[in-house]
């Protein structure tokens, strides 16, 4: 019988879509390297972009990205399913990022000391985003969004990325970043308001 490698891969991918992250990580802990490959494939893009947007430099992002995965590999024996794998992974990522900030000359960005009870944010109107009519317009909007994202304070940008790239809930973002749910909500809301206002301004 001849096995078609492509069909075999498709079959494996189909099978693995049904397997939870936690089960894959547990399997890797128990010695199944192929489970790690599936996990890596699922999260390499989002995690890399989390670091890329936070650092702004691809080489630095790759360094931090690599450190986090090596940490996952090194601590596999201690892995226990207590929470979602994404929470575990981004916990490591957040810690690595903070560790990196702290060891830089500038220290931890001031935005991590923000006031969660700032009442102003609740009064800021959410601007409407113009729906792009053509491809050129859409591209311009995308470029503008990335520029605006780059200009956000680190803590707000991190909340946005954990939401967009990791797909985490506010409670999970709060847990990972070690703040209250209100602070996480405030950071995310500030980020969204600034991004929407920036995009609306750009179009008008």
């Amino acid at each position: 019988m001849v096995i078609n490698p492509e069909r075999l891969v498709c079959a494996l991918i189909g099978m693995d879509k049904a397997t939870s992250d936690e089960a894959l990580m547990s399997r890797y802990r128990d010695g199944d390297a192929s489970s790690f490959e599936i996990l890596y494939e699922r999260y390499k893009g989002p995690l890399y972009r989390y670091f890329l947007r936070q650092s702004g430099i691809s080489a630095l992002a790759e360094e931090l990205f690599q450190d986090v995965w090596l940490k996952v590999i090194q601590s596999r024996k201690r892995y226990e399913v207590r929470a979602k794998f994404t929470t575990y992974l981004y916990h490591l990522a957040h810690n690595r990022l903070i560790d990196h900030y702290r060891r830089q000359a500038t220290g931890l960005p001031l935005s991590y000391d923000d006031d969660p009870d700032d009442p102003q944010i609740e009064r800021v109107a959410i601007a409407e985003i113009h729906q792009p009519e053509n491809e050129l317009y859409r591209r311009r909007q995308v470029q503008q969004l990335l520029k605006l994202l780059d200009g956000l304070p680190e803590a707000q940008r991190e909340a946005f990325l954990l939401r967009e790239e990791a797909g985490l809930s506010l409670l999970e973002i709060a847990e990972i970043t070690g703040v209250t749910a209100e602070t996480a909500k405030s950071r995310l809301r500030y980020a969204l308001v600034k991004l929407r206002q920036g995009l609306a301004k750009d179009v008008t």
């Binding site: 893009g45 080489a59 790759e62 916990h91 967009e164 070690g178 749910a181 209100e182």
Partner: protein, 331 residues
């Protein structure tokens, strides 16, 4: 942590999130490089293979056996030397046992402490408090003060070097490097590097060797992937950058390394864009924070390939003073 239900708490969209989400997703497509993918997957595979090799039956019988063998052999050697009267011929008195033990401990300290330092973020388990653990910019001068005092001559030269660096400070002279986009390097870090360089204390075997060079990309924006072997022991001794230097000694690109690679030897790090053409002859070399340049380097061009060549330890040594310089060592 409050459990109050609010928009977004359970993953439901926050007000105004939907439109942003759509635009962001259409923009967000970047992926890590293939070399990084390969490296991580290889590490994952290696860890499992090592795990299986170490304990095929789950019983670690080899450790007690090897320990017993070492003890028996050591006793045998000591007895043999004693019989030959080697110990009796030694004229200087042996140091007190406490001192010997203490020095033994002191030697072990860096190796024991550094892994713990690397574990620090994991230990915090996300409960990191920014307010309580913020590192002030004054930390590095403190660290620098902990360095062993240099000789007066070395200090004078270091001061002279620092003046030279001050004159050079300003816009980065290397293009497209990591540290370029960071804040300017700490004076203390620079001073320490100068001090190390000023002593000219290049010890054999303590250099960072370049062991491989791979290049991808287009002319003017090449990406270099450089393999390095270095005697890292932690932040006190580690390879702190690799760089691409033109044939006439000009810095073209420098990849500052964020941390030591004690437990990852040899290691590979990529960087770029390197602004050269395919026929440009360049050097690729690494730098140690303790002993500077002097390790194995590669020379060549994209067209002809790269081969190990000795540039001599004094080749373009002044580049060690130029930015971008390390802005700290993570661990």
């Amino acid at each position: 942590m409050t459990s109050k239900k609010s928009p977004g708490a359970d993953g439901t969209p926050m007000p105004g999130e939907a439109g942003i989400d759509r635009v962001y997703r259409s923009a967000s497509k970047e992926m890590p490089s293939v070399s990084v993918d390969a490296k991580i997957l290889a590490e994952a595979q290696k860890a499992i293979t090592k795990q299986k090799t170490r304990s095929p039956s789950g019983i670690h019988w080899e450790y007690p056996l090897s320990s017993a063998a070492v003890i028996v052999l050591s006793l045998g050697v000591v007895l043999l030397l004693n019989q030959q009267g080697v110990f009796n011929r030694q004229s200087p008195p042996s140091p007190p046992t406490d001192t010997a033990t203490a020095s033994g401990i002191a030697r072990d300290v860096p190796a024991t402490l550094s892994p713990s330092a690397a574990e620090e973020p994991a230990r915090s388990k996300g409960k990191f408090s920014a307010k309580t653990e913020t590192v002030q910019p004054e930390l590095s001068p403190t660290l620098a003060a902990k360095q062993p005092p240099a000789s007066p001559a070395a200090s004078m030269e270091a001061k002279k070097s620092e003046r030279e660096v001050s004159a050079l400070s300003g816009p980065s002279m290397a293009s497209g490097s990591i540290a370029e986009e960071r804040p300017a390097g700490l004076v203390s870090e620079v001073a320490r590097a100068r001090e190390n360089m000023a002593t000219k204390d290049i010890k054999p075997g303590l250099q960072a060797d370049v062991i491989s060079v791979q290049v991808s990309g287009e002319p003017g924006t090449y990406q270099f992937t450089v393999g390095i072997r270095s005697p890292d022991t932690g932040c006190q001794q580690y390879a702190d950058w690799w760089e691409v230097v033109s044939g006439d000694g000009k810095l073209l690109y420098r990849r500052v390394l964020l941390h030591s690679h004690m437990e990852e030897q040899p290691f590979t790090r990529s960087g770029g864009p390197v602004p050269i053409q395919s026929e440009s002859m360049v050097w690729v070399r690494a730098h140690m924070n303790t002993s500077g340049y002097g390790g194995k380097a590669f020379k060549g061009s994209i067209k002809s390939g790269f081969t190990e060549t000795d540039p001599g330890k004094d080749f373009a040594a002044n580049l060690a003073y130029l930015p971008p310089l390390p802005n700290g060592c993570d661990f």
